[in-house]
Symmetry: C2
Subunit: 225 residues, 2 copies
């Protein structure tokens, strides 16, 4: 990277960090837990979200922001579940930035308790951008292979939670779940790990419980602050 590129990049990241901190503060005060979902294209972010929505909605009011290069497809899928969803199409850009999320804050209904943000499908660039989330989840689908954590370390090192998806396909794949988990824990020992299959419903209840407990912790932490 040239010196000029580096300076421009530092400026962008600095201003993104500031906006993200403002979003986090604002939404925490409103009792909204923000979850940022990060993965390769086709790891199953939207399908997992559909299952999470079915589990939490309507007892735990939630809203969803969908990030994509093009198309409204993912937001349409979530809206069909009766949940408010907004699509951000980046028109070529490879990640979401905090200011894109910030613009949508006035739209979020007052009763919302969870805001899920599905990032652009990309295991590299989104890892550098805080969106104001409380929890960052990285998804790794079994067909992607068990060698991914060390090849794409930043996504795994910066996450709070690792969600293995499409675990129903493991019998048909050369995929070692323990190896992949250990490789991720090597990079980031504080990772919470969940094994899921959106198709078979595996691990969804545990994951939903983790989000609910994380929100309770967030609110208790505020009271003690």
């Amino acid at each position: 990277m040239s010196k000029k590129e580096l300076i421009v990049r530092e400026e962008i990241l600095g201003s993104n960090k500031k906006v993200a901190a403002e979003i986090r503060e604002k939404l925490e005060a409103a009792g909204v837990l923000v979850v940022n979902l990060l993965s390769s294209p086709g790891s199953g972010k939207t399908t997992l979200l559909e299952r999470i929505v079915e589990t939490l909605h309507p007892t735990h009011p939630l809203a969803v922001i969908e990030g994509d290069i093009e198309t409204e497809r993912d937001a349409d899928r979530i809206r069909r579940k009766g949940v408010p969803a907004w699509q951000i199409t980046t028109g070529g850009a490879c990640h979401l930035e905090a200011k894109m999320v910030g613009k949508l804050l006035p739209e979020i209904p007052a009763e919302t308790k969870f805001l899920f943000i599905e990032n652009v499908g990309n295991l590299v660039c989104p890892a550098g951008y805080d969106l104001g989330e409380n929890i960052r989840c990285v998804l790794l689908s079994a067909p992607e292979g068990d060698d991914k954590p060390k090849k794409y370390p930043k996504a795994f090192a910066s996450a709070d939670c690792l969600i293995f998806t499409k675990s129903d396909l493991i019998p048909y794949l050369p995929f070692d779940l323990e190896k992949a988990g250990n490789e991720a824990l090597d990079l980031n020992p504080r990772l919470r790990i969940f094994v899921t299959s959106a198709l078979k419903g595996r691990g969804i209840a545990e994951l939903a419980r983790y989000f609910i407990e994380s929100r309770v912790n967030m609110i208790q932490h505020q009271r003690h602050a």
Copy 2:
């Protein structure tokens, strides 16, 4: 994107294009066909390359450049097949650039007929960077889903060839091959399409033949130029 960002980006892309054109000219003159493989992480680029290597080597001498954020894993896999391979680790950067490839040109053995470049696993950013290739292949693995072409249009619109991978998993997946192919052809009607399974050996011979024929065409085109 800010005006400053745009200017820096234009400068980078302009200089990349120039270096890419030099690489293409140099390697074409030496009778080397360059193939750039582009896809999400875990679409099966390296495994497909292993099968291609087994089919072409040693009758059709080839060399491989592996791009990754971190680790030498992929180049090691190719070297084990007895083929020269170099790993470019970008240390965080989300795509290869032509100058990274240019630096390796002096290393390529004189008898080489094919140079395969495996890009960083990313369906977004690498699409903007010409590496001096004659053929750009985009891979889409069946587990990624049949809705990807229109969600990541640049990769599909800029490719010469679309390779469906992991087709052995289709029976276990909600994946419509025809739908995905038509969506890609909508974006880019000149796409050559191959359906492969590296695990079962499906489509590998056809793909190898396509590369061999493309090299013959390249050389004939030079003679008539």
